[in-house]
Symmetry: C2
Subunit: 152 residues, 2 copies
């Protein structure tokens, strides 16, 4: 089942272990905050892409503008985001997190930090340095991959 390349195999093993744990925490946090995973995911997107529009979110989620619009309406109803008119195109909206929405994002990040801290506590300083260097390599490459993908 795993790839023949030891590197890809190692990554896959890591992905499996990591995704399982991450997803479990994400789902738990979403439910505790009374939101669905989709809604929290949308908040994160709006947080990351300041002043994005309805279609931007729809594209990112791979759904129609209508679906995005209706999801956003529910987030507006819950006071988590605001929709305003875009400055250079009166047809378009700009999405921004409210203070409440920002708090949800912060708390989700904080919840994630909890188990990352647990993980960090198990590594020696030498191990940490090693992992930081390796993650630096991976990050540089994945960012390059995303630049390529984003130009599609």
């Amino acid at each position: 089942m795993h790839s023949a390349d030891p590197f890809v195999a190692a990554l896959e093993t890591w992905v499996e272990a990591f995704m399982r744990r991450s997803m479990r925490h994400f789902m738990r946090y979403s439910r505790e905050s009374g939101l669905s995973m989709s809604q929290v995911g949308a908040l994160f997107h709006i947080h990351r892409e300041e002043n994005c529009g309805v279609s931007d979110l729809g594209d990112n989620l791979g759904v129609s503008s209508a679906a995005a619009s209706q999801m956003l309406e529910r987030l507006v109803q819950q006071g988590l985001i605001l929709r305003s008119e875009a400055p250079n195109d009166r047809r378009a909206k700009q999405l921004v997190l409210t203070e409440k929405g920002r708090q949800v994002v912060q708390e989700s990040i904080h919840a994630r930090q909890g188990w990352l801290n647990d993980l960090a506590a198990m590594l020696s300083a030498e191990e940490k340095a090693q992992v930081i260097a390796a993650l630096g390599i991976l990050l540089e490459k994945i960012n390059r991959l995303e630049e390529t993908a984003d130009s599609k």
Copy 2:
């Protein structure tokens, strides 16, 4: 926003980049196979935990047995899993993937390998060795963390 600990900060940056990409691929694959993310996730759980029961799945997803049961019914209807009587407890069911269900899991893994291979192509042999060593450290620790969590 990021933790003061450089290690945790590096992990977080990696988490953000990685989760975004992984989730995008996972969502795309789920939709292409006509299943929801929850359904694919359940298939993966059944795949990993051979002969698990309805309540096991519900516990893993953090939902009631009724919710799990109804989701499983939909997977049965689509020919992706089978439910049989557990050998040592006539109240319980054992879940197993059909060939069709196994194929969905395989294809999802294969889709993930695609971008991991893209990533691998960008690293030198030395970089790969470094990353493999670091991931080995992380894996050992995260497995230990899960053993601790599983004993709760």
